[in-house]
Structure formats: C-alpha cells, structure tokens
C-alpha cells in the first residue's frame, strides 16, 4: 500500500476495493478515510479496475460532462485538483451540490454540454482530462466540441452509450462509426466494451490531435 496515493487498492472487511480519500457520499464502505469506489456504479471506476490508464492522477484539472448526482465526480475530485462538473438537469444537480458542499474543488455548472460557449467564460483552457458520460444523442459531437478545453497533452475519457444514439442499430456498428468520427480530431489510445452493469457502453481513451 502506497502512502499518500490518490487512489489505490485496499482491503476493507475482507474485500479488495479501489479507493480514494475523501468524505463518504453514497453509503460506500470506508476505512481510515479511504472510500470504496464501486465499479458497478461508476463506468470510470470499472475501467480503472481493469487496469486501463484513463489519465486520472494527482492534481490533474478535469472537465466532467454529465456529472449527474456526483457519484463518479466525487471520486474524481478526491484525486484531481479541480473538477468542472457540467450537468444540465436540475434534479441530479441538487444531489451534485450536496457532494460539492464537502468538496470545494468541484465547480458545479448547470449547463448544456452541447453548448460549450455557455461555459467557456468559466472553465479554463489547458485541462488535463476531459471525462464525458452524457448518455444523450450526439455523444461524439459533444466530445469534439469540448476538445477546446483540453491541453495538447491532455486526455479524453469518453463513454458512448449505444442506446442513446440509436435503439435499433447494433451497438457494435454505433461504436465503429463513433470511433471513426472521433478519429477526425482525437488519436484513439484504447477502447473497452463495458459489461455487466454497464452493458452496451463503450469506453474510449483518446488524445487530442493538433488543430489543423
């Protein structure tokens, strides 16, 4: 066990958990200030437990699109120095605000991720990590539009939910064309189909390509 790691694996009551350090949020098991990051409730968590580098490390600056009630955001904020958390629906925003109460490095923004110009006056440039999990139509377009916030050495962690794009087309076809479209402006580093709790989701890790 590494001391002062921002996330690590820890045995809590006989079970190994991915953990981050911070105040508990959703009834997760805790030990000495570390809190279990439940991969069944977080796509990002589930990808990290599969040993994929998603670009989350100590003190990174993050833009998180589709923050929802803050389950995943809370863990990201335990590690990152600042998390701009964009969510456009008022109901989950209220829960997110409760998470942000105990984490002042979360900047909550009730905004539409399809319109980055409405938060470009708040969110800074040159961010290290763009995390997107919006489960709405046009997911690739949103990732392209929000590339403007990323530093040239930053990373994108994108979740594509097939059913949000189209319910009749086979998910594999949707994933294929999503990757194609995304490749115009991002270099794909890794793709991973999620299973069990996150069926029909594809996780993509990518790097922004220089602007032409």
């Amino acid at each position: 066990m590494t001391l002062f790691a921002d996330y690590q694996y820890l045995n809590i009551r006989g079970k190994t958990h991915l953990v981050t350090k911070g105040p508990p949020v959703y009834g997760e098991s805790t030990k000495n200030g570390w809190r279990a990051w439940d991969p069944s409730r977080s796509k990002l968590g589930s990808v990290i437990t599969q040993d994929i580098d998603v670009g989350l490390s100590k003190n990174v600056k993050v833009l998180y699109l589709g923050a929802a009630n803050g389950t995943t955001v809370s863990h990201v904020a335990d590690v990152a120095s600042i998390v701009y958390a964009v969510e456009f629906s008022p109901q989950p925003m209220r829960d997110l605000l409760n998470v942000a109460r105990s984490r002042t490095n979360i900047i909550p923004l009730l905004k539409d991720a399809r319109r980055p110009e409405t938060y470009s006056h708040v969110v800074e440039s040159n961010l290290d990590l763009l995390i997107q999990d919006v489960a709405t139509r046009g997911q690739v377009k949103i990732a392209l539009e929000n590339k403007r916030f990323l530093s040239p050495t930053g990373k994108l962690f994108l979740v594509i939910k097939a059913r949000s794009e189209n319910v009749v087309t086979h998910p594999d076809l949707i994933f294929k064309s999503s990757i194609e479209d995304l490749s115009q402006e991002y270099a794909i580093l890794k793709t991973k189909k999620l299973t069990s709790h996150h069926k029909d989701h594809l996780a993509i890790v990518a790097e922004p390509l220089p602007y032409k």
């Binding site: 600042i82 008022p90 109901q91 925003m93 209220r94 997110l96 605000l97 942000a100 002042t104 490095n105 979360i106 900047i107 909550p108 923004l109 009730l110 110009e117 409405t118 470009s120 006056h121 708040v122 969110v123 800074e124 440039s125 040159n126 403007r148 916030f149």
Partner: protein, 282 residues
C-alpha cells in the same frame, strides 16, 4: 490571448467581491473559447492567488447552480404582478367613477357640496326621483371597489415580505411589487442594471395618472418613493441614482438568497442622509 477576451470572463463584468453578480455572470455569460482564466484573473488584479481564484469561483458557481436548479416552478412574484395591476386598475376605475358621481350629484342637487354631504342631502329628501336609486348604487359600487382594493393591498404587503424581503423593506411593498410587475418578474428585475431600474415605469402614464399629476417621462416609478419626493428637487437626481442602486442590489439579494439583510437598508438610510444634508429637505 488578447485583452479583448478578458471582457468575457465570468469575473470581469462584475462589481468586485460580489458573489451575486458573479453568479449572474456565470449563468448568463458566454465566450467562444476558454482561456487560462486563473492566471488572467491574477494578472488583472481580480485575485492575488490561484487558491483565492478557485475559492471565489466555487462560491459563485455553487450559488448560480443552486439558484437555477431550484428555479423550476415557483413564480409567486409573477402572481403578485397581477395582484398589483389589479389594484392599480381598481384605483383608476375608482377615480373615474368618483369624478362621475360628483358631477352627477352636483347636477342633481344643484349645490356644490362634497360627495358625502350631497348624498346626505338627497337621502333626507322626501321625494325620491327615479334617478335616486342609480346614484346610490353607483356610490355602493365605489365603496366595494375601495374595500376590495384595500384587501388586495394588505395581501400584497404580506406576500411581498416573503417574495422580496429586502426590496420590500427599502421600497415599501407596493412600490416593490410595482417594480417587479413592470420588469416582468423578480428574476428580470434582478438582472436589470440600476440605471434601468431608475427609469422603470417612466413610459407608463398610468402612474403619473395615479399620482394625480403628470410627471416628466424621465421619472420612473421610484420617484413616488418618499426618499425622492421629500428630497429637495435639486437633489432628486442624486437621490434617485442612490435609491435605484440600492434597490437593484436588494432585488439581486432577494432573487438569489431570499433572506433579509438589514445592513442593506441601513446603508441606504446613511446614503440618503448624506445626500439630504447637502441641500436640506424640501
């Protein structure tokens, strides 16, 4: 990153150290592309450290998100707009009918008495003409209108202290309700610059009529406030600017936090004393 960009930043348009206007800016502002805002904020002297920058941003963003997320359905301020307009309609109609009644009574009695005395005169007459009943019925209508108007005024007064406590304390419930009604809602009022607030209602002849005299159109409804009407005419411009500035802050506090902040009111009182001491009261 030119200096033209900083004009779009969430922290630039705002009154220094004012979380309310920063929240507004976060909600309403925009910019084509992001910039290294934290370092720009330090460069332009808005904050001196990155920690300070993020802490201000956190406060303002939190407040903005909280406000817009809870904004969903509550519009008592819009209902109060209808109430104050109804009240003003009652007043206008009462005025018209009073003029009508007194003309009719004057003609009918052939005397130039006020309304109560005329009514008394004809009620003790033994002979009741066929006009008599209609004159009394007109008078009864007038009475019930004014009872209704007073009930409505009481209702507005009690509602306004919940809807906009600070604005109500400073402007009085009726003027506060009128400002909201002219602006369209408390939100819209809160988002208007104080210069606009100063002339709000200037275009509306109704209020000049209500005060029983025509006023110069550059004067908004806030000129009915005693801080202005009882200030020396030479100083009214100053008083109006000061009052509208404070009322505009009050509207923002009401819109964002909804709790009474007595300091705002004492600030206004101090400011008014200052202005009046320059020229004495009228």
């Amino acid at each position: 990153m030119g200096h033209e960009c900083i004009e779009n930043a969430w922290f630039c348009q705002t009154i220094p150290e004012n979380t309310l206007s920063e929240s507004l800016e976060i909600e309403e502002g925009s910019c084509i592309s992001p910039h290294p805002w934290p370092s720009m904020a330090i460069e332009c002297g808005y904050v001196s450290t990155t920690e300070e920058y993020y802490s201000r941003l956190y406060d303002s963003a939190f407040q903005a998100a909280q406000k817009s997320a809870s904004d969903l359905t509550q519009t008592p301020d819009r209902q109060i707009s209808h109430a104050i307009r109804t009240m003003d309609d009652y007043s206008r109609i009462e005025n018209e009918l009073t003029v009508r009644l007194s003309e009719w009574l004057g003609d009918y009695t052939g005397l130039s008495l006020d309304i109560p005395n005329s009514l008394e005169t004809i009620s003790i007459q033994s002979h009741h003409s066929r006009f008599h009943a209609h004159i009394f019925s007109l008078h009864n209508q007038l009475n019930s209108l004014s009872i209704e108007r007073e009930k409505l005024a009481l209702f507005i007064e009690s509602e306004m202290s919940h809807i906009a406590p600070n604005l109500t304390q400073m402007a009085g419930p009726l003027l506060a309700a009128r400002l909201i009604s002219i602006a369209g809602s408390l939100e819209k009022l809160a988002k208007k610059p104080s210069g606009t607030l100063q002339v709000l209602g200037a275009e509306n002849a109704l209020f000049a009529h209500l005060r029983g005299r025509a006023t110069s159109p550059k004067h908004g409804v806030i000129y009915t406030h005693e801080y202005i009407s009882k200030t020396h005419p030479r100083l009214r411009g100053n008083a109006a600017r000061a009052l509208s500035g404070k009322l505009s802050i009050a509207a923002r506090v009401d819109y964002y936090s909804g709790t009474l902040n007595p300091e705002l009111h004492s600030d206004l009182l101090k400011k008014m004393d200052q202005i009046r001491s320059r020229g004495g009261n009228k």
